[in-house]
């Protein structure tokens, strides 16, 4: 049991903090607007030029080969500095881990550097109208053609797709196979012929996600990730990443909790004290739980179904942090503010990346060993 940081870790964090303090921009417009998307892309480009955009990646692709602990420290510094949300998140945190595990050398060399520099921004294309939490019900299809595949069908709730460059998702390549079988993982261009993107306005009015219609969209063989027909297995490794360590690092909740304490201090209404304290404790325990996970992984452990524990916790924590803040704001709570935006964003947390209902079932069946529920 040791929570002290060695000199190298402290130096790494100090370097990150120094750079971020100097370069973090004032509040950018929402990344779900055209203007905000461009501004966020520009910010991440400068982040990449200083080699801070993908600290955990190998140096050859733009990273610093930071270990998990250093990555966590970077994230803490990032959110403590008030730096913007990551517009490249889908690519960096969902697609890249899959590329590292299942991609070819050619794919990594071609795709990772522009991702790190925010020159290519990726959208995810998991869900379909009849396949939300039940991904195995996917109907979109791909059929083989000369040198590649022709993709057709409809994806929805594709986050960032309104303004992103490319997308990744599963398509059925064996029409006779049931459910998980016969799916293939494809990468495709959102501006390719045959692709129609219909932005969908979120609760805040901005097109944070979109429907993507595909009509015989050509994708070369080089943009199949993993083996054809093996898409489910390939995607599941991404899915663990989405829920787990990398999607929501503790840093953002620590920063929010600290802001909440500051907000409470403005009038110290004792009626709200306990909720503020509990939110801060929640952020702290998520941080420590993550450090325990990092220790376990660094000693050869696996993440697995444990990632559902983290996802359940941070999604509820994020909501309670913001709901408490809105209660502290009183009559002004309904007005546009960082807290209100954060609350709207937090509302989606228990839904995306596998609903919390699904996560609870995973915890019950895979971690507690309860019998499979009828479904």
């Amino acid at each position: 049991m040791d929570l002290t940081l060695d000199a190298e870790a402290r130096a790494f964090r100090a370097e990150a903090t120094e750079w971020l303090t100097e370069h973090t921009p004032a509040r950018l417009p929402s990344l779900d607007t055209a203007e905000g998307f461009a501004a966020h892309r520009e910010w991440e480009h400068s982040l990449a030029q200083a080699r801070w955009s993908v600290v955990s990646w190998p140096r050859e692709f733009g990273g610093r080969e930071a270990n998990l602990l250093h990555w966590l420290l970077f994230e803490e510094a990032y959110y403590a500095a008030g730096a913007p949300a990551r517009v490249s998140q889908n690519g960096i945190f969902l697609l890249a881990p899959t590329l590292f595990t299942h991609g070819t050398d050619e794919q990594r060399e071609r795709l990772l550097p522009p991702m790190a520099r925010a020159e290519q921004i990726w959208a995810q294309a998991w869900s379909e109208p009849e396949a939300g939490s039940d991904l195995a019900a996917i109907r979109s299809r791909a059929r083989q053609t000369s040198g590649g595949w022709l993709l057709s069908g409809q994806k929805t709730w594709s986050s960032r797709a309104a303004f992103a460059d490319r997308a990744f998702g599963l398509f059925r390549t064996d029409p006779d196979a049931q459910r998980h079988r016969g799916l293939t993982y494809f990468l495709f261009d959102l501006r390719a012929p045959g692709v129609t993107v219909r932005p969908i306005a979120q609760l805040d009015g901005e097109p944070g996600f979109a429907e993507v219609f595909l009509d015989e969209v050509f994708v070369p063989d080089a943009d199949v990730l993993g083996q054809p027909g093996d898409g489910w297995r390939v995607a599941m490794s991404t899915s663990a990443n989405e829920r787990g360590l990398s999607l929501r690092s503790p840093g953002r909740f620590q920063a929010t909790a600290r802001k909440l304490v500051n907000l409470w201090q403005q009038n110290k209404n004792p009626v709200h004290r306990d909720r503020v304290v509990d939110a801060w404790i929640g952020a702290q325990s998520y941080r420590l739980h993550t450090l325990a996970t990092v220790t376990r992984l660094s000693e050869g452990g696996e993440l697995g179904a444990e990632s559902s524990v983290g996802k359940l916790f941070w999604s509820e924590l994020d909501l309670s942090l913001h709901e408490t803040a809105l209660d502290l704001l009183g009559a002004e709570a309904e007005l546009d503010s960082d807290w209100l935006r954060g609350w709207l964003f937090a509302l989606a947390g228990p839904i995306y990346a596998g609903t919390n209902e699904i996560q609870r079932t995973v915890v019950a069946e895979r971690l507690l060993g309860l019998p499979r529920s009828p479904r």
Binding site: S127, G132, S133, D134, T156, W157, I200, A201, Q202, L203, G205, F209, N269, P270, V271, H272, L326, D327, L329, G330, A331, E332, A333, E334, L335, D336, S337, L340, W343, L344, L347, A348, P350, I351, Y352, T355, N356, E357, R360, R375
Partner: protein, 317 residues
């Protein structure tokens, strides 16, 4: 003791419901049905109805997410202007003029309306929209944007005084109380609409080969929301009868909590589609969030309940 709506009141609710179902421009319909005239005395062109009729109407208005300064126009101002003897303004309200009232500190902003009023301590004035007064806050914008896209908010500048003195203070307390009651009913109506929509969704949508509504986790969350709403509603009806600070605030606290809980359940059980502007759930989700801090926070109203229970004046704010 007969604690139920009269047949006339139930019929009024049904009439309103049917009318609001079939219009996209609700206000003229409401004017035709006499809703703005409900609390206006008969001698000023109103219907001289009971607060319970107001509660019935506000539930339906919440159910259909009707926008506008409803608590002001239908509840606070009719009682305020009656108490302060403003017959011409009452007649104007009765014929359907929308008006908004600011009462600092709990109601610091006005909603877009045809007429504005400002009530501070013991002075009631007419008023006009103004840029944000405090220069060191967020950049002044008029209208200010709310979480609810249907709500455009304004700071007001007082203009002509209408009434002054202790009588204003007493009338203000009654007006605030009635606006609070109206908001409670509006919250319940909005919450019931969300629950109904979610139940319909859960019956229609299938997942893993079953209707979503057959999953126990879904059933139990909807049952909890139903219980919360069923138990909050009688508080609103009783508060319409007694109009005490204790009962009105209790109704508002329970209604706002039940509505917030129902909103979370509704969004969660809808999943992503509930998070979009184009699906109707969003109308209520954002409305309920805005109403949660309208006409006093939960903290303020819980403080009023406790003060009444302990018969002393301890409150935080």
């Amino acid at each position: 003791m007969r604690f139920a709506l009269t047949p006339e009141q139930s019929q009024f609710a049904k009439t309103l419901h049917a009318a609001l179902e079939s219009t996209k421009d609700p206000w003229p319909t409401l004017v035709t049905l006499g809703v703005p005239a409900l609390l206006i005395p008969v001698e000023h062109g109103g219907l001289g109805a009971d607060p319970i009729d107001l509660v019935v109407a506000m539930e339906e208005l919440g159910h259909h997410a009707v926008p506008g300064p409803l608590a002001d126009t239908l509840a606070a101002l009719p009682t305020l202007l009656t108490d302060l003897e403003q017959p011409e303004l009452l007649t104007e309200l009765a014929t359907g003029t929308q008006a908004s009232l600011v009462m600092p500190p709990h109601t610091p902003l006005a909603l877009t309306a045809s007429r504005y009023f400002h009530l501070d301590q013991n002075t009631l004035t007419t008023a006009t929209p103004a840029p944000r007064p405090s220069p060191n806050s967020v950049a002044p914008r008029t209208p200010l944007s709310s979480v609810d896209p249907e709500r455009q908010l304004h700071h007001l500048t007082p203009t002509t005084p209408l009434a002054q003195g202790p009588v204003v203070r007493a009338a203000a307390a009654r007006a605030f109380n009635l606006a609070t009651l109206a908001t409670a009913a509006q919250l319940l109506g909005a919450a019931r609409a969300m629950l109904d929509l979610t139940v319909a969704h859960a019956k229609a949508r299938t997942q893993f080969g079953h209707p979503v509504g057959a999953f126990q986790a879904v059933q139990h969350r909807l049952a909890d929301a139903h219980v919360a709403l069923e138990l909050a509603r009688p508080l609103t009806h009783a508060a319409a009868l007694t109009r005490t600070a204790r009962d009105v605030s209790a109704a508002r606290v329970a209604a706002a909590d039940a509505a917030q809980r129902t909103a979370r359940t509704a969004l969660q059980l809808h999943g992503a589609i509930g998070y979009t502007r184009e699906y109707p759930l969003s109308r209520w989700l954002t409305l309920v969030r805005a109403l949660h801090t309208s006409w006093g926070t939960q903290d303020h109203h819980r403080g009023r309940v406790m003060a009444a229970l302990t018969e002393d004046s301890w409150t935080w704010d």
